[in-house]
């Protein structure tokens, strides 16, 4: 069996599971975002009175942090009251940041854990050897009621990453290249595991970006076998015991793909689909109205660090806006301590409260019709960050910072020593 199957079997109270089987699993942690008041509504519609276990529920005020409209404020008010009534102590209010980063920062995710959140980017937690998956409001309400949820045991595909990561190339470029090659629907209903020597060149932050973007190939979950890098990250944060599952030798993957990254160039996903990917050199010179650095994909400390390095002592282009959104409060504090915030603000960056901000086109950095935005986020669908006739190019944090500096798309490699 694969490590993911062993994990699902354990949570379903079974010896073994097989692909396609439907299993009912105990959920270790269920998260709800402030976008989805429907979760609370569905809970009551199904006859809910008290949640199954308040210690296994976490609430995130991240998508509307802080509320920009009266309706958002009212939704958040109802969530807070629900937490207080139900004894849910894990209320991550508007100061905390994006759910996935908060889970990592607080050591709430570790190998062998099933984490289900009402957010599609929950496969991010494969970076820790956890089973993370996104669901809708009603599915999450079922977990609140019963502590369990059904899953179909997915086919597992392996993406083996060989070679040496070149200068100016990041996990974001690698995963964009993979999605471009395989397609936005390649991983639908499936789990995606990453293997290979490239992983040892990627920090936890980079691994999170890799796993996060498997959502954009439709994946149900993702997985990286915990190793020395995982353990080093977790040892300061996680105090509880946990089990690390391993895949049996000879396990047959549903599909196996190898990519050598050694000659990879920085990549961009052009409008309006995440699999519309090409070398950044194809787009050099395109004028950029807004550069956006942030999100659960590209708003961590190393992302702000590379931007600060590119922009140190310089000013962004006078016709470009540079919106920076630290993924979480912890990220923000760390970036302040390291001087990145000072550097970026002096260069002309506009800082926004840690959270999802404009990644999903609700507030704080919306783009107008006809405008172009380069973004370190995860989606470039029509209307994703504002007007449906606004264009979004997805790239690495370095590509975003370099574009902010020049006011147009450039190859970021030349700015990296």
């Amino acid at each position: 069996m694969h490590a993911i199957e062993k994990l699902l079997a354990k949570k379903a109270g079974k010896e073994a599971v097989s692909t396609g089987e439907i299993v009912n699993c105990t959920i270790d942690l269920a998260g709800i975002n402030d976008l989805y008041l429907q979760t609370v509504r569905s809970f009551f519609e199904m006859g809910g009175i008290k949640v199954y276990d308040p210690n296994k529920i976490i609430m995130f005020m991240d998508h509307y942090a802080p509320a920009s409209t009266i309706v958002q404020a009212d939704n958040q008010k109802q969530f807070r009251e629900f937490c207080w009534d139900q004894g849910i102590d894990l209320l991550m209010d508007i100061d905390q940041g994006v759910c996935h980063q908060v889970l990592a920062d607080k050591g709430l995710v570790h190998p062998g854990k099933i984490v289900v959140v009402t957010d599609s980017h929950t496969p991010t937690h494969g970076a820790f050897g956890a089973f993370g998956t996104g669901v809708g409001a009603t599915d999450l309400a079922i977990i609140m009621l019963t502590g369990k949820l059904w899953f179909r045991v997915p086919e597992i595909i392996r993406i083996n990453l060989e070679g040496t990561v070149p200068k100016g190339v990041y996990a974001k470029d690698i995963i964009l290249h993979v999605i471009g090659a395989l397609g936005a629907d390649y991983g639908v209903y499936k789990a995606v595991e990453f293997t290979g020597p490239v992983l040892l060149q990627l920090s936890i932050s980079e691994r999170m970006a890799l796993c996060n973007m498997t959502t954009e190939m439709g994946a149900k979950t993702s997985y990286i076998q915990p190793d020395v890098i995982t353990m080093e990250y977790l040892q300061e944060k996680v105090t509880c015991d946990y089990e690390i599952y391993t895949t049996d030798p000879g396990y047959q993957y549903a599909a196996d793909h190898t990519f050598d990254v050694s000659s990879l160039k920085p990549q961009l996903a052009a409008p309006f689909s995440v699999d519309n990917v090409a070398d950044i050199t194809e787009f050099i010179g395109i004028k950029v109205d807004q550069a956006y650095l942030g999100s659960c994909t590209g708003g961590r400390v190393p992302d702000l660090a590379v931007a600060a390095k590119i922009l140190a002592g310089k000013k962004i282009n006078s016709r470009t806006r540079f919106v920076v959104v630290p993924a979480s409060k912890t990220v923000f504090l760390e970036a302040m301590k390291l001087g990145y915030v000072q550097t970026l603000v002096e260069s002309g960056a506009t800082f926004v409260t840690p959270g999802c901000a404009c990644c999903l086109g609700t507030h704080e950095g919306m783009i107008a019709s006809g405008e172009t935005c380069i973004s370190s986020t995860n989606r470039n669908f029509p209307g994703r960050m504002g007007h449906s006739k606004g264009k979004i190019f997805l790239g690495s944090p370095a590509a975003v910072a370099a574009a902010a500096l020049e006011g147009r798309i450039v190859d970021p490699s030349q700015y990296i020593e």
Binding site: L145, D185, V188, T362, F381, P382
Partner: protein, 168 residues
């Protein structure tokens, strides 16, 4: 549960994401009547005016990819969508739709026999889709027993509610 669904087809392309089905800026709305006003607004703003109860959405691969927002299903349910037939679906959208009792049917090649505006009928038991205008038919993938059970309970909410009441 109706076993034969008949309606006018509204045909879309591939990778129609949940931002097109229900734009992010309206996610703060929570009342069904408000949510219903923005169905498919990002893909076809005129659909809401033309769509009649029981009409059918037809699409290419990966319909409903992207965000987990249940609004994307709530809005389609609210305008009375009879079924959604596509080459494939985004997985969270698929679960959400089944949970709310909308038949979402994987039917590879559906767009080969259905054009926008055609009247089509779908037999949920046999899995046969028929274009009433041309007489052409195509067979969809059968739904699993688990999914059929949810649909025939009228969605997962009444099913879970009943289960919990029985446990008391």
């Amino acid at each position: 549960m109706k076993t034969v669904i008949k309606g006018q087809a509204f045909v879309f392309g591939k990778n129609v994401d949940t931002d097109q089905i229900y734009p992010g800026r309206f996610v703060e709305l929570t009342d069904v009547e408000d949510v219903a006003k923005h169905a498919m607004e990002g893909a076809d703003p005129s659909l809401v005016k033309e769509f009649k109860e029981g009409d059918i959405i037809v699409a290419g691969t990966n319909f409903g990819c992207g965000s987990s927002r249940e609004h994307a299903v709530i809005t389609l349910k609210a305008i009375g969508v009879g079924a959604i037939l596509a080459d494939s679906f985004g997985r969270i959208f698929f679960r959400n739709a089944i949970n709310l009792g909308i038949p979402v049917i994987v039917c590879a090649g559906i767009k080969d026999i259905v054009k926008n505006g055609d009247i089509i009928s779908f037999d949920i038991v046999s899995g046969v889709v028929r274009n009433d205008k041309t007489g052409e038919t195509i067979k969809a993938e059968p739904l699993s027993d688990y999914v059929m059970n949810i649909l025939s309970s009228g969605g997962i909410k009444p099913m879970i509610k009943k289960q919990l009441e029985q446990q008391k």
